[in-house]
């Protein structure tokens, strides 16, 4: 299968007065054509930093290293103009909280027009609105929504509008950052069905779907990447990650999720004690899960050397010393 996006040893930090916040500190992964890659991990692990930086690195974010191949081209080396044409039309993002970030003083029509124009100066207004009108219809939004202001729409409707807008130019890659988090369960399901339909119809080719909610990813992702404190912990197929996780963090995370037959009265779920490290000036060496890890397979090594992503079988990656050759594995 074709690879659409390939990210290698990618580092993005935040510049602050006190030093660098090492939000993305050497991540490796790829996204295939026509797949949904889910990215999960707890708050602050760098999901939004990763997705925003792929689209646009702006202060206080700084690019610290690595490569990002999109369709074979390393976009970290592209100039501002080339990047502007790529952004939105080829790789599009629905930023976290996009729903609430829509300009309150512009009608939906205007919001769409301004956005498209920013990236494609040749396209005519009628053409943009006519595509939008068609797409709105497909997702069950009546046409007059175009003449509404964002505040006049319900959460579920706003999210549909945002999804239509961000895929209007049929981008190859759509990055969806927490698009279901603020929605009711029925709207969550609708949003996800809509995304699948957009893929079927070819409006988007591949999707990076970001959420902290693994049970949502279980419904939509083909593969899942688990992040922890700015690093990749584990990558595998959705079934593998949920049913047979390898990394100690993923194992505990999956264990902590509510299940349909588990009740407090009969069986208690367990959380993960402790909390993620503060990434300000955090040393890049060592495993970032070390403090909370119940395994610490080789304490010296775990503490001082960053575990690389071991490919334990084709397509199955885990960054934990327990999976190094010679260490006793699972």
């Amino acid at each position: 299968m074709e690879t659409l996006l390939k990210v290698k040893d990618y580092k993005v930090y935040y510049q602050t007065l006190k030093g660098h916040v090492k939000a993305i500190d050497g991540v490796d992964f790829f996204v295939r054509s026509r797949e949904v890659l889910g990215i999960a991990g707890e708050s602050g692990c760098g999901k939004s930093t990763l997705s925003n930086s792929l689209i646009n690195i702006k202060a206080p974010m700084i690019y610290e290293g690595g490569e990002v191949y999109f369709d074979g081209v390393d976009i970290t080396k592209l100039d501002v103009n080339k990047m502007r044409t790529l952004r939105y039309t080829k790789m599009s993002i629905i930023p976290q909280y996009a729903m609430d970030a829509m300009s309150p003083t512009k009608k939906i029509k205007r919001i769409i027009f301004d956005l498209v124009r920013e990236h494609d100066r040749k396209i005519a207004e009628e053409e943009i609105i006519s595509i939008a009108r068609g797409r709105f219809k497909e997702v069950g939004l009546v046409e007059y929504v175009l003449n509404k202001y964002p505040v006049e729409l319900s959460g579920g409707m706003k999210q549909r509008v945002v999804m239509v807008i961000s895929t209007l130019m049929n981008p190859k890659l759509l990055i969806a950052d927490e698009i279901t988090s603020a929605l009711d369960v029925s709207s969550q399901k609708f949003t996800i069905e809509m995304l699948e339909e957009f893929m079927d119809k070819g409006y988007v080719d591949s999707v990076i779907f970001i959420t902290h909610d693994l049970s949502v990813l279980y419904q939509i992702a083909d593969r899942i990447m688990i992040m922890y404190a700015g690093n990749v912990a584990e990558i595998g197929t959705t079934e593998e990650i949920i049913k047979s996780p390898l990394h100690p963090y993923t194992k505990m995370l999956v264990e902590s999720l509510p299940k349909m037959d588990v009740q407090y009265k009969k069986k208690k779920l367990k959380g993960i004690p402790g909390h993620p490290p503060n990434l300000l000036n955090y040393p890049s060496e060592g495993c970032r899960f070390y403090e909370r890890c119940p395994v610490k397979i080789n304490p010296q090594k775990c503490k001082l050397q960053k575990p690389p992503l071991f490919e334990v079988k084709p397509g199955r990656y885990v960054a934990c010393w327990a999976y190094a050759e010679g260490e006793k594995g699972e």
Binding site: G140, F190, V216, Q219, K259, I272
Partner: protein, 337 residues
């Protein structure tokens, strides 16, 4: 055991400022239920269904438009003076965003100060000991809390500190409004387990407000499903989940994402009918009428909440007709196997 801690009778809250329906929103519409000591009630419903309003009414933060709330046999609107202070000490609320309750420039233990200043003046010399005690009840190590700043703690820890604060006041009923929706999965269960433990060991009752059915299932004894201000289904959690009767409850259960089951692929038209349709809402009809795939002529008159099996009530004509026999089993229960 027929003890009742709190009883809600024909309780309604009508807002006249809303933009919808001629400036009137019935945020809570004729609610009737009881809460026993040491009972965890999950209050489930989508955004705007009236969960927070119901909680605020019970906390006496707002006044009912109709109906009453009876605590330990006394109408709370009649409480005055010492009795009222006692009510405020017994019935406590914890809310969604733990971070907003903490000032980032002060140490976290400062949140306990107000309680000691206004309610526990006479206890001030034992302050540290009392706080430590309460922290242990919510499964926190006092040494991990004293002297720390908010940014050094996880959301789950902060939320448990706020629960600990309510414990200093001899809480009997805790209104926990979406207290874990902003937290990560890895710390959510700690907060839930804290609630379970307080129920078991301190006989505290909890109204656990959530829109997440799987979390409600894990922790609650009783489930109340709210839709547009109405309690549409209510009963033992086990019964509501294994035999959901209201079409709304069934829809919710079929769409709740869990890691045990993949969603069924639904046809597009079916999905739309799940939450929007051309039908108009009927004034004084079933609140679910416009979304309901089973709606009939009679549904234009509002159904009342009727007991269908012991400990399980529903407000739906279709459910009453079929006595729930056709309800799909969604959540399994070990008891039934």
């Amino acid at each position: 055991m027929n003890e009742v801690l709190l009883k809600v009778e024909n309780l309604s809250k009508i807002y006249r400022s809303g933009i919808a329906a001629g400036g009137v929103t019935t945020a809570v519409d004729n609610a009737n239920f009881e809460i026993k000591p040491a009972e965890i009630v999950a209050l489930v419903g989508e955004s705007g269904s009236g969960k927070t309003t119901l909680g605020k009414l019970i906390l006496r933060l707002i006044k009912p438009s109709l109906g009453k709330i009876i605590y330990n046999g006394i109408d709370i609107s009649k409480l005055k003076g010492r009795r009222l202070v006692e009510y405020y000490r017994h019935v406590q609320g914890v809310f969604q965003d733990p971070f907003s309750s903490f000032n980032p420039i002060f140490k976290v233990d400062r949140v306990f100060d107000l309680i000691f200043d206004s309610y526990l003046k006479e206890m001030k010399q034992k302050k540290r000991e009392l706080i430590a005690n309460a922290l242990e009840k919510v499964m926190l190590n006092p040494d991990d809390v004293f002297g720390k700043y908010p940014h050094q703690m996880s959301g789950g820890q902060l939320q448990r500190i706020l629960i600990a604060r309510t414990l200093l006041l001899d809480t009997k009923l805790l209104i926990a409004d979406e207290i874990i929706s902003m937290l990560d999965a890895s710390v959510r269960v700690d907060v839930l387990n804290t609630l379970g433990k307080l129920k078991d060991e301190n006989k505290i009752s909890v109204i656990f407000v959530t829109h997440d059915l799987s979390l409600g299932y894990y922790i609650s004894d009783t489930t109340m499903i709210m839709y547009k201000g109405n309690i549409v289904e209510m009963g033992d959690t086990e019964k509501v989940y294994s035999n959901p009767l209201h079409p709304y409850t069934r829809m919710l259960l079929s769409v709740v994402p869990t890691v045990d089951r993949k969603w069924e692929k639904k046809k597009e038209e079916e999905l739309f009918s799940l939450f929007e349709s051309g039908k108009r809402r009927i004034w004084n009809g079933c609140p679910y009428y416009d979304r309901c795939p089973l709606a009939m002529e009679v549904c234009q008159k509002k159904p009342s909440l009727l007991e269908i099996e012991s400990g399980h009530k529903v407000a739906c004509y279709a459910a009453i007709q079929s006595k729930g026999s056709k309800a799909e089993k969604t959540f399994s229960s070990e008891n039934e196997k």
